[in-house]
Amino acid sequence: MSKEEKMIEEGAEKEPSSFRLIFTLGFAGFMSGLILVGVFLFTKPIIENNKAEALKKAIFKVLPGTTTFKTLALDNNGKLAEYNPSPESKKGEEPERIFFGMNDNGEFTGVAIHGGEPGFQDIIGVLFGYDAVGKMVIGYEVLQCKETPGLGDKIFKDEAFVMNFTQLAVEPEIVPVKKGEKQNPNEVEAITGATISSKAVVRLLNKNLTKWKTAIEAYLNENQISTPAKDE
């Protein structure tokens, strides 16, 4: 309060012209704009490259054997089509995308799907690999997780839990069961003490599978894709 009054008093003594005030602010804004544009243009390609690398790494991890991938999104007719971000497309208006993985011979290895679901603390973000031909979840990577350290974070730290998702049947749907009670291929053993986080992961998988399944099947039929014959 007193500071403000003092300021006003001092201002009354020798008031700088409004022009000078506006000029100072305008100049400060202009200079800051210049610096920011410079740094932005310099760091943007590096940041985008980082993000692309991280995504690539995650996709290769959840789809074993993958060496290249295609980005797909739903087109206006509700069909999957290859997605190329046009420079005009606005941030925030990009469609949701899924990733079709392929191995060295150009054979289909699976689809990587990203999803988010409220867990114990906050949204859990997961990228998972889906073998659309064998109808199985084949890989799993937690991208975003603020669950309780030591309990909820076992959804990516607990080896046994992660192993649930290397060969998990998705039909009729994925079901969480207590530890040690897994009998069917579509069951996931929940983590003791972190049931809510485990269930959130299962819910996330089911939701996103239902969301994409039909479109993926239509795409596979249309393009006559099948998985590479397994030797086992």
Partner: protein, 190 residues
């Protein structure tokens, strides 16, 4: 609808701005000596947060898609103007309240809770309605935390507590205990 309720509860209790994200601690510890002042500051906070949500939505939709690097600067300037507006309105409508809140009203500008709200709701990609619900939840959450701490602090004034412990140290430990209690809200929507 379900998602909106989740956003609201999450901002209000589970991820309470003050108690679990440590945003807006300066007014939290500074203006929590009296219950009534704390409550009023909380209300001012809700008001500014709602304005912030509207302003940041407008900025995100029309300005920042063309110039993302101006995000921080434009958020701050718009929020500061909004706070100025609240300050003028309060000064005119209730000089008493203006006196009670003292220097803390202009300080809401440099309050991390306000800027944090704008940044988090942008990062989470919230739309108009979601952002608004998020702001109201967060504002109520901050108010709740302020009122709880002020209530406990009023009680401690008449207790016999060593002089050394009184002040910020005691307030922080009380806040820690309240925060501990709030952890019980986690998993509310599992």
């Amino acid at each position: 609808m379900n998602e909106l309720i989740w956003i609201f509860i999450s901002a209000l209790l589970v991820n309470n701005f003050t108690l679990s994200m440590f945003l807006g601690l300066c007014p939290f510890l500074g203006v929590s000596a009296q219950l009534q002042t704390a409550f009023r500051l909380g209300l001012a906070n809700i008001f500014v947060m709602v304005i912030t949500a509207l302003a940041s939505y407008a900025l995100n939709t029309w300005v920042l898609i063309h110039a993302p690097y101006l995000r921080l600067i434009s958020f701050i300037i718009v929020i500061a103007s909004a706070v100025q507006f609240v300050e003028m309105a309060i000064k005119k409508l209730s000089p008493e309240l203006f006196k009670a809140l003292g220097i803390f009203l202009p300080l809401i500008t440099t309050n991390c809770a306000i800027l944090g709200l704008a940044l988090f709701s942008t990062n989470k990609g919230y739309g108009f309605l979601e952002g608004l619900i998020y702001a109201i939840g967060a504002g109520l959450g901050v108010t709740l935390a302020l009122v709880l701490l002020a209530g406990v602090r009023e009680e401690t004034r008449i207790l016999q507590i060593p002089r050394l412990v009184r002040g910020a140290a005691l307030n922080l430990i009380i806040a820690g205990i309240i925060s501990l209690a709030f952890m019980g809200f986690a998993g509310l929507f599992g």
